[in-house]
Assembly symmetry: C2
Homo-oligomer: 326 residues x 2
DNA sequence: ATGAAAGCGCTAACAG
DNA sequence: CTGTTAGCGCTTTCAT
């Protein structure tokens, strides 16, 4: 390649990575040769030499979860604009296996790592710290992140939903939740607030709950509502840990002739693209997914370029989108 | 690392990549040192030296599409078991931009590339061929793949649905389709079969059709059915290009008091995890997603290990899952 | 503005 | 079974 254009390899490198430092005429000649040969630089070699792989590793439960779609989309785009590629590693919804993914990730020497949720395993935290790679945890909140953090409080979401339903006059709130850790914390946030509001007692604070396997499905939502109505016929509201579960609960309510929201109010989580179009339309908790992706990317880019990050913990909050179901 | 264990670097390499060729005692010593130091090999260097990056690039429309979830899951797992990592590049649902993704992908020198759909751009085909990387196209069929192929015929799906509905006595079939290329071909397969069956004329073969933006949503499905019923009140069946659209159509039918399937039969595509639990449950086209992922991975692994592939074109077919909606 | 030399951390190839 | 040597294709550093 270099010889074809009659220049030294380093000049080709400059054309690709710092075109401003190359004379116009040389630039033209080299680019010409690149086009003619279809030359594509070897990033393995480049990364090895420069210690900058231009690779970002994102660790996610499932790549297919619609809840995270906007976040990973914005993340990928923001990084792409800055010259980074994002790769996704899946952990599944189990409770620990992010550990196992870590070594293969570190082995590629990414310039940044984005985690879904906060990393609990101390072993993993150490390894990450030792690797010296900028890390951004997301979709959750903790005062002690490994490095940086962009997220929101699941407990506060639960509390906000409890207060919302309380304000609407609901007193017998139930929960349908998927068995993943963050969903469970939304549920316990709701429970705690229910105690505070006096609609559950501190002694027996367990609200009627149906636990479904993660990820939540329409079928689980149906089963959940069926089970709750059987065991607790008097419930007047259900907080579902995802919109899909809530849709299932609505379907089941309809099948049983239980009017929503008149008899039972439904609140979902995620504000997925179907939430506005169900019948009744779905009241749900919305999180600014794109903002999380964008901010996480920006923090890591700052750090990767050697600049220091002013505020490494960002709480993006959430909002309750009021629609017809509650 | 090597010096810490008192061996040559190549011995460490062997412990990691070919432990059988190392004496037990040496193995122990080296592994010990690895554990103590938390050493993680540099795959950039390894890949550069060996010309095997152990990286697989998968090019997908959106990582979040539930239709592909099982496929990418099985793909990732099969590759992981063989020591490869999979990275995903997103193209969006536009009609050409896979080209742009290709160079960054080739730059990382993956050991294999998995494509969603078949690659149409001749420029891109050439580039891929020139790169000499095993390529597997998926989720579609063509007699002339770039290299290898695991998929099925979208035209035949359309035809099969037409025949299915015809056999059930439906004669006025309509279509709600997302504006993506493969969905449109399912629709035209249905149209062609409708002509053959005599329920559309060759002169005016256009069945009543509603085109929605990709990806299809519940809201689009509602709008689609509303529009179709307005323009063609006599339709007695609708083929939707995805289960989400079909669910939307069911919701809209219900809102209008149109009984499904008595007045209008609905057929979806994808057999997503909610299809069995809707009311009525959804008749849909099912594709063996995991098989596609597994097979694509196996083909590429064969090729990457220098073995030749006996049959590089695999048609996994599809089936119509009969449920209550049709 | 361009180049020469050295080296990133690993593995192929060949010894021994 | 283990080591030596060379080199993968770039970029860093220092010259010019």
């Amino acid at each position: 390649m270099a010889k074809l254009a009659g220049v030294a390899p380093i000049t080709v490198s400059r054309v690709l990575n710092a075109p401003d430092s190359v004379a116009k005429e040389t630039l033209r000649r080299v680019r010409d040769a690149i086009d003619r040969t279809g030359y594509v630089p070897n990033l393995l070699a480049g990364g090895l030499a420069s210690s900058r792989s231009r690779l970002i590793a994102a660790v996610v439960p499932t790549i297919a979860s619609p809840v995270f779609q906007d976040t990973w989309g914005a993340l990928t785009e923001t990084f792409a604009n800055a010259g980074y590629q994002v790769t996704f590693g899946q952990t599944g919804y189990g409770d620990a296996p992010e550990d196992a993914l870590l070594d293969p990730i570190i082995a590629r020497r990414p310039d940044g790592i984005v985690l879904t949720g906060i990393m609990r395993s101390p072993r993993a935290r150490l390894r990450l710290l030792a690797a010296g790679i900028p890390v951004c945890e997301t979709w959750d909140l903790t005062p002690t992140p490994i490095d940086m953090l962009v997220g929101f409080s699941h407990e506060r979401i639960g509390a906000a939903v409890a207060e919302y339903l309380y304000a609407k006059g609901r007193r017998r709130i139930a929960v349908i939740t998927a068995a993943d850790e963050r969903a469970r914390r939304r549920a316990s946030g709701l429970t705690a607030a229910a105690v505070r509001l006096g609609i559950a007692t501190a002694l027996a604070p367990q609200l009627p709950t149906f636990m479904a396997p993660a990820p939540g499905t329409l079928g689980s939502g149906r089963k959940g509502l069926a089970d709750l109505l059987e065991r607790h016929p008097a419930i007047d509201a259900v907080f579902c840990s995802s919109d899909m579960l809530a849709l299932g609960a609505i379907v089941e309510a309809q099948a049983r002739g239980v009017p929503v929201p008149d008899a039972v109010a439904m609140v979902g989580y995620g504000d997925l693209n179907f939430a506005a179009d169900t019948i009744p339309s779905l009241t749900t908790v919305s999180v600014d997914g794109p903002a999380i992706g964008r901010l996480a990317a920006r923090l890591i880019i700052e750090r990767a370029q050697g600049r220091s990050v002013a505020d490494p913990i960002v709480d993006v909050g959430f909002s309750i989108i009021q629609r017809a179901s509650a």
